[in-house]
């Protein structure tokens, strides 16, 4: 088995091998097996993700300095070893099982996929739990991010170089002001919270099928909700700007009056709307304005 591992960090097994190396009792190693269904016709997207994580884990074990023959990583594909699946009474994939070197697998030798997820770090902790082998997960560095950034910078640089005769847009205050405003609005509408916590876009009530975009508690939020708030904030801001423009710009009076009224309506309508959303979320808040 050492030989196989030196070739591939995850040993692929079929029913025959499984019986020989895992089921046959005298062993001085334990085996962590992923039961999976990777064939394209099975259409198991989770399996593929789990497989990647499992590979990461096995590779970090394979190439670590502490590598011994105490633990082996193996996988059994449903289409290659369906008899194994039958033997173990399994009907779902992916499943991670640990076969200890001594004794029968117990309940805790089945990895709780639903609870802990299949991140390689979690798997490593579980393996450390079961086998006393500490594996430091080393992910192959992800080059996509820096590459993309480099590409983007190159494109921007190239564009700037091509248009070096008119770099006016760098001195355009509107452009800068607009991007600053975008940033501020993104931040104040709680997108950073979304980024860190990763909430769902909206919540669909399974029994009634009703979709709620606003989270009921003030401690959490949905993505949709933050987008709404962003728009409302932007509308109020625009209203204020319009009000000022109406008073100062040089265009004819009719248009300015329209601008002024539009600004006023924007400010009032969207602010009171925002207030009503806030009121719905923050229970016991007594004040409202125009919209209840």
């Amino acid at each position: 088995m050492m030989e196989w591992t030196s070739k591939r960090s995850v040993i692929r097994m079929n029913g025959d091998k499984f019986r020989r190396f895992v089921k046959a009792p005298p062993r001085n190693y334990s085996v962590v097996i992923m039961f999976t269904a990777l064939q394209p016709q099975r259409q198991c997207g989770v399996c593929r993700q789990a497989d990647e994580e499992f590979q990461v884990l096995a590779n970090s074990w394979r190439y670590s300095s502490a590598f011994t023959n105490k633990v082996f990583f193996a996988s059994v594909d449903f289409d290659e070893g369906s008899d194994v699946f039958q033997m173990l009474n399994m009907n779902s994939a992916p499943t991670f099982l640990h076969f200890p070197s001594k004794g029968k697998p117990r309940r805790s030798d089945t990895y709780e996929l639903q609870v802990r997820g299949f991140a390689a770090e979690q798997l490593a902790r579980w393996v450390a739990d079961r086998t006393d082998v500490q594996i430091r997960v080393i992910r192959p560095p992800n080059y996509a991010g820096p590459l993309l950034l480099g590409f983007l910078l190159a494109v921007i640089g190239g564009l700037a170089y091509l248009r070096r005769n008119n770099l006016e847009f760098l001195f355009n205050k509107n452009c800068w002001a607009f991007s600053a405003l975008c940033f501020v609005l993104i931040m104040t509408s709680g997108q950073m919270w979304n980024h860190i916590r990763g909430p769902p876009y909206a919540h669909k009530n399974p029994s009634t099928g009703q979709v709620s975009y606003i989270h009921g508690s003030s401690q959490a939020q949905f993505v949709a909700e933050t987008h709404i708030v962003l728009l409302f904030n932007a509308a109020v801001t625009m209203g204020i700007v319009l009000l000022c423009e109406a008073a100062t710009s040089d265009i004819d009076i009719g248009k300015r009056k329209i601008m002024c009224v539009a600004g006023m309506v924007l400010v009032m309508l969207f602010f009171s709307w925002l207030l009503s959303i806030f009121r719905a979320k923050y229970h016991g808040y007594p004040y409202s304005f125009l919209i209840n």
């Binding site: 919270w193 003030s218 007594p286």
Partner: protein, 820 residues
């Protein structure tokens, strides 16, 4: 820190109490609203009076300064009085957790003197390590309070140091509003300045850290921050060394007061750097920054806690880098006069990029070789937002280090959060040197506030300033009459001229009605109707803002959290004073050097109120020590006893909210204890053991056995199973988690209950001394042998190794034949 607790409290309060609190406070809120509108010069009373009298007076400037003085004074008063809810409802006490430490050290300072304070080694904290307080604290707050106390006593005004501490933050809020006024006046105009001062006096985002009793660094630091920025802007504008030195002194005060000074030392170089990029370099900037950097650096190193950090840590390197860059830039500018244009251009770009490269590489090199410490975890977690969650659970565990939802933005800033982007827009559209500064301030602060709830505090001042700019823009155009616009059209289109004679803001207000007859002339303007409607609506928004601020202050930010209050259905109030009851018990009934183990949240309070030695406290500098306490709490009793004995623990104090439904108790914090313990002792503690197989954290029967037998669970629910709170619920029903506890029959072997407060909120256990003689667990090995020996005399058949048909001789009988 306060939020999760207070919010749950408020749900109670708001229904019953809002009416009462409102009437009690209606005056100040209405006054505040009036004032904030007055700031823009629209207050009809003031305006009319001003108009009437100024007809005779030829000095509008005098009226103007009088008005601004009055408005600032009233803003101070409103800000001060709206921070007094907690004092009026409860009493003049120190709030929460950190303020207790600050109070304790201020007390030490005022009774022992400054030098003693700097050398203070506190053996009551972090047993057995102790803490060098003088070297690990920002002394600005204590020194300020101590100084005020000293001066007052010198004047024979005898106040207790506690009262000085309680009222320090509200007083400083007034100073903050004045410095905000000054800063905004430099950025925009006086009207905006007054509005900004009124906003910051009552905005909840700032009140949250500066209510009476919240004696914390932030209370004075925001003043120092704003004042430093004002002086910086002033020195950039004037280019005089005088203002730059003033800026340095103010910066020094800030460094001595709060760790947030790092924000200043990065923002000001950023400002200079962006000015360089925008080719707005001038002598003024050069003088201001060079002075500021050098003197500021030297001064900041005088604070013992900061020490050599400004030259040894990465957080400060940006300032040094910009300083070098500025010198190179200035030198090249100087060369400009000596060289031809062509030569200069090549040299310039070469020189600047070379300098930038050299600075960057040397910083990297020095970091690599260890002369400069890399970014500390707290700062690093601001950029890589997932960092703390994975690597430093103790930072992630604090509720104020969580990211900010839009609700808390709106809650803390209300209308300002929607209008301040407009102010930013105006600032960038009419950019100049100092508006670059405020734009950078806004953008960086809004980023930090998005990452951490706590940093909302640094965002609040800039939001107030920019919103004031937006409102003042609107009022400026809609309050004045149309006459002005008509007569000199060219002059009016530019804002600059309008801004210079800000006097018109005050004098012309309230005159809109008088000019109705001249409506036909005003054809070019928007007309008085539209204008007055807009004005009314804006005033309405401001009024709502004032009302909101008062409500939020009263309901969310005025709870001392040392004393809790609950409200009955008829509106009467119950005070739950369990914390102080328990700490007082500790103070009176335990030996003076007794060591109390608790979770770190309560360390400062135990030290401050009970005056007993603690193991860990809110200054979370030693993670492994905290992890050890966490391990003790989350292991079973025997294992915990070993840890507690090795740490010499005499008492264990826990907070239990199950009886009254207090949500901030130790069982709810328990998972963090487990996580922190797991970080240091992964072999003994595993988080997954404390969950049910379904991954839930439950305290009832379905909960995991590890949880049901750990020390924290046992101490929390000891004898709770006997208690029936309500007829509708079974005995042992936990109101906080709405569950019947799973382990009702709890026996403690190494601990004994020493004290439980009235509502069971605080429970104290005494750790038993080890017994003289080891009591043997199991029964002594039963003396079977003896027994058998005894019985064997009578019935020999029970003898061991009995052979059935063994011959037994008996005297006097002859039975042998029969057998044979």
């Amino acid at each position: 820190m306060a939020e999760p607790v207070t919010v749950s409290d408020n749900k109670h309060k708001s229904q019953v109490n809002s009416g009462a609190s409102y009437s009690g406070n209606g005056r100040s809120s209405a006054a505040a609203a009036e004032r904030s509108s007055g700031g823009s010069g629209s207050s009809s009373g003031a305006g009319a009076a001003g108009g009437g009298l100024s007809g005779g007076l030829t000095q509008p400037a005098g009226w103007q300064s009088l008005l601004s003085f009055t408005i600032l004074f009233l803003a101070w008063l409103a800000g001060f009085s709206s921070r007094l809810f907690a004092v009026i409802r409860f009493e003049s006490i120190i709030h929460e957790f950190d303020p207790w430490f600050n109070y304790r050290s201020t007390h030490y300072l005022s009774s022992n003197g400054f030098y003693e304070f700097l050398n203070w080694f506190d053996e009551r904290a972090w047993y057995p390590l102790g803490r060098i307080v003088g070297g690990t604290v920002y002394p600005g707050l204590m020194v300020t309070a101590g100084l005020i106390h000293y001066v007052l006593n010198l004047l024979h005004i005898t106040v207790h140091i506690r009262d000085v501490c309680v009222f320090l933050a509200p007083v400083f809020s007034g100073l903050t509003s004045i410095s905000t006024f000054l800063l905004t006046r430099e950025l925009w105009n006086q009207g905006a300045g007054l509005l900004a001062a009124c906003f910051i006096a009552i905005v909840p985002g700032y009140i949250s850290r500066s209510v009476a009793g919240s004696f914390d660094n932030e209370g004075i630091a925001i003043f120092a921050l704003q004042f430093t920025f004002y002086l910086w802007v002033k020195s950039v504008k004037s280019g005089s060394v005088f203002w730059a030195i003033g800026c340095c002194l103010s910066y020094f005060y800030m460094v001595s007061a709060w760790g947030g000074y790092v924000f200043i030392i990065n923002l000001i170089p950023l400002h200079v750097f962006v000015l360089l990029l925008m080719q707005r370099f001038s002598r003024r900037v050069y003088i201001a920054y060079s002075t500021f950097f050098i003197i500021g650096l030297v001064l900041s190193m005088q604070v013992p806690f900061v020490g050599f950090q400004p030259i040894r840590t990465s957080e400060h390197m940006a300032a040094a880098g910009v300083f070098v860059l500025l010198q190179v830039y200035a030198f090249l500018q100087y060369l400009k006069d000596r060289l031809t244009r062509q030569e200069f251009q090549t040299l310039f770009f070469l020189g600047v990029s070379l300098a930038a490269g050299v600075v960057f590489l040397s910083v990297i090199y020095l970091t690599y070789t260890g002369y400069i410490a890399p970014w500390s975890g707290r700062f690093y977690s601001l950029w890589d937002t997932a960092y703390a969650k994975i690597h430093i659970p103790i930072i992630a565990s604090v509720s104020e280090h969580q990211p900010t939802t839009w609700v808390s933005f709106f809650f803390d800033l209300h209308i300002l959060v929607c209008t301040f982007p407009a102010g930013l827009w105006f600032c960038i559209k009419n950019i100049n040197d100092e508006r670059v500064f405020v734009a950078l301030y806004a953008i960086s602060a809004v980023y930090f506030a998005g990452v951490m709830v706590r940093l909302m505090l640094t965002l609040t001042p800039v939001v107030c300033m920019l919103s004031a700019v937006a409102f003042s823009c609107v009022f400026e155009h809609y309050l004045g009459d149309d006459m002005k616009r008509q007569s000199p059209p060219a002059e009016d289109s530019s804002d600059e001229d309008d801004r210079k004679n800000a006097g018109n803001l005050y004098d012309k207000a309230g005159k809109v009605r008088k000019h109705v007859s001249e409506q036909e002339k005003a054809e070019e303007g928007l007309g008085p109707n539209v204008k007055s409607i807009v004005t009314m609506l804006m005033l309405m928004l401001l009024m709502m803002f004032a009302v909101h601020c008062t409500w939020v202050t009263s309901n969310a930010y005025s709870s001392p959290s040392v004393v809790l209050a609950s409200y009955n259905h008829d509106g009467s109030r119950n005070i739950l004073d369990d914390f102080r009851e328990a700490y007082y018990w500790l103070r009176q009934n335990t030996e003076e050097h007794a060591r109390v183990m608790s979770w770190w949240d309560y360390g400062y309070q135990i030290a401050g109120m009970a005056n007993r030695t603690t193991l860990v406290d809110n200054n979370t500098w030693n993670n492994s020590h905290i992890a050890l306490v966490g391990k003790a709490m989350s292991s079973n009793e025997t294992a915990a006893y070993d840890i507690m004995r090795s740490l010499d623990v005499d008492y264990v104090l826990i907070i239990f909210g199950g009886v009254i439904g207090y949500s901030g108790d130790d069982i709810n914090k328990f998972l963090w204890m487990v996580r922190i313990a797991e970080g240091e002792h992964p072999r003994d503690i595993r988080e997954s053991d404390y969950f049910t197989p379904q991954g839930e954290f439950r305290v009832d029967k379905a909960g995991s056995p590890t949880l049901l037998n750990c020390l924290m669970y046992k101490m929390s629910y000891y004898r709770f199973g006997e208690m029936q709170l309500d007829f509708r619920t079974p005995p042992g029903f936990d109101r906080t988690r709405n569950a019947e506890i799973g382990n009702k029959d709890i026996k403690l072997k190494h601990l004994e209950e020493a004290f439980t407060s009235e509502h069971w909120l605080v429970r104290i256990y005494k750790v038993k001394k080890q017994e003289n003689r080891d009591r043997v667990e199991h029964k002594l090995r039963s003396s079977n042998a003896n027994k058998q020996k005894y019985t064997s005399k009578k019935t020999s058949k029970r003898k061991r190794g009995y052979i059935r048909n063994k011959l037994s001789l008996k005297k006097g009988k002859k039975l042998q034949k029969k057998f044979l």
